[in-house]
Symmetry: C2
Subunit: 314 residues, 2 copies
């Protein structure tokens, strides 16, 4: 029952994502649809929908643009991240940056962000303030991460600040706004926000662990990093076996990734297991927050989502 | 009287621009303040203030964040433009891209855009919908321009579409929202929007003409383009005579500018004069729209602003 509702909601979110990027500037439509079609876990909009349902919401249509906007923020940052990370593939697909070049990737990311704005505008001040705050935290988190990458070092506090801002803030906002839209009282809104914040932290930690010990096959990780070391125009195979032209600047060699470096050190010291235990502990905080949420099948689905996030292998 | 009011308002806008970018991520504060401090004509916020006053608005404080947000949109796009255009200087100052590098410039542009969002949120749905639409048009205009640059050609229709979207849309939104905020009736709102839209078109045409025939000394045009042809780290002198380190990627050579090329052809054919006549004609439409605006000293200031825009030499 809940699964069916969520599936229907997520299909509506997909439709919204695809339709909202329509523009008579064809390149923006094409590049936007390309990154949207490359999929992803769609965890953030799912959290918005679940929070809405958990708080008693019954009008699907009102939460769909909000859920789509949440995912679109994430999508916009992916397009810009791929420029900064010199990534050629994402989710087994060629990146916007690799396919359309840097200038258009930058503009496509900007365009997706204007579409977030467009979808959020009708919700009014309270929601837009929450969303703006989440977006600010996200960019701050990305900046802290890039600064750590440049400095070539990252301590535990910095790592915590980064994942809290770049990942947990948007999870938090998704649940908070979903619950508010359902007319939930303050206590339930806060409970769902705390749930989502901790889920976001655990999600990112597991993500970073999988970057080190995950199965590349299952992860759909970049297969083009070697290609990135070469100059000029080259080609790689995308996830469907088709060959597409990739534009690679001379300077496009992959930079060192401080998270990867830190994780390598952690692995050597056997600390990956400790990190995993911390993720499990934080996931426990997400579960604990649900005590203030009405006991319904939707709450059960929120519990199960925590397990899915922590126990995944991709 | 009007001049004093506008001056006070613009000072409040400057303070807002500077204070709103405060972050505990120091780099974002520094890079944001750098681009804000480099100045500019501040035409867009001025139009918001004038439209507000022309429509009878009397509560300064309510229009300041809106005017600042309008300028911030413009500022954010400048930071991203400088990445795409490989510019090392702007307004006689080193660019964010040149000083902090591409990654941080990209993030700073994103950050400024989140600050637009933050300042606009409290205004509610109607204003945010107008702003979102203006931002979408702006990115579309930039994309059309980049596509024309890549194709190495631009016809009259494309040029018109570009300047309408990348420049006039935001001018339009500034006036429209300023007037709405003052509680103006539909007719006055539309008149001010039409005024600003045409002023934006004329402004951009004059800008493009000055790119060709302007005095580089007065324009504060890039002095670092030759530097951009070289590889690795180099240094240029900024507007204050101080030497700052500039990071230049190997691929950072300035690309051909289709506007410049088109203008070069126009100059050879004596068509710059025709372009100027067209700008004057469009400026006339801006003036004509003011007939539906209450005859006050503020309206007079709006008339005079048209003259300033069309007759400027920088």
């Amino acid at each position: 029952m809940v699964a069916n509702l969520i599936q229907a909601g997520m299909e509506a979110v997909e439709n919204k994502l695809r339709s909202v990027v329509d523009s008579d500037v064809q390149l923006l439509t094409d590049a936007s649809r390309h990154i949207i079609a490359s999929g992803g876990k769609r965890l953030r909009p799912q959290i918005a929908l679940l929070a809405y349902l958990a708080a008693g919401g019954e009008e699907w249509h009102e939460v769909i643009p909000l859920a789509a906007a949440i995912e679109m923020v994430h999508t916009a940052t992916l397009v810009h991240d791929d420029i900064n990370d010199h990534s050629l593939t994402r989710r087994g697909q060629i990146t916007v940056h690799a396919r359309w070049g840097r200038t258009f990737a930058l503009l496509t990311g900007d365009y997706l962000f204007t579409k977030v704005y467009e979808m959020m505008a009708p919700y009014g001040a309270a929601y837009n303030e929450i969303m703006a705050e989440a977006c600010i935290r996200l960019v701050e988190g990305e900046t802290l991460q890039a600064a750590a990458a440049k400095a070539g070092q990252m301590d535990r506090e910095t790592y915590k600040a980064i994942i809290s801002r770049k990942t947990a803030s948007l999870f938090d906002a998704a649940a908070r706004m979903g619950a508010m839209l359902a007319g939930a009282d303050e206590k339930v809104v806060e409970a769902l926000a705390v749930y989502a914040h901790n889920l976001g932290l655990a999600f990112q930690m597991v993500d970073d662990i999988l970057d080190i010990i995950g199965d590349p096959e299952k992860m759909g990780k970049p297969i083009g990093l070697d290609v990135a070391q070469h100059r000029g125009f080259t080609a790689i195979q995308n996830g469907h076996g088709a060959t597409e032209t990739v534009m690679v600047d001379e300077e496009e060699a992959a930079p060192p990734d401080p998270l990867a470096e830190m994780m390598a050190r952690l692995r050597e010291s056997g600390a990956v297991e400790i990190a995993r235990l911390q993720a499990v502990e934080i996931a426990g905080r997400a579960r604990a927050a649900l005590v203030d949420v009405p006991a319904t099948p939707v709450r059960q689905a929120l519990y199960e989502l925590v397990d899915t996030v922590v126990n995944r292998d991709k």
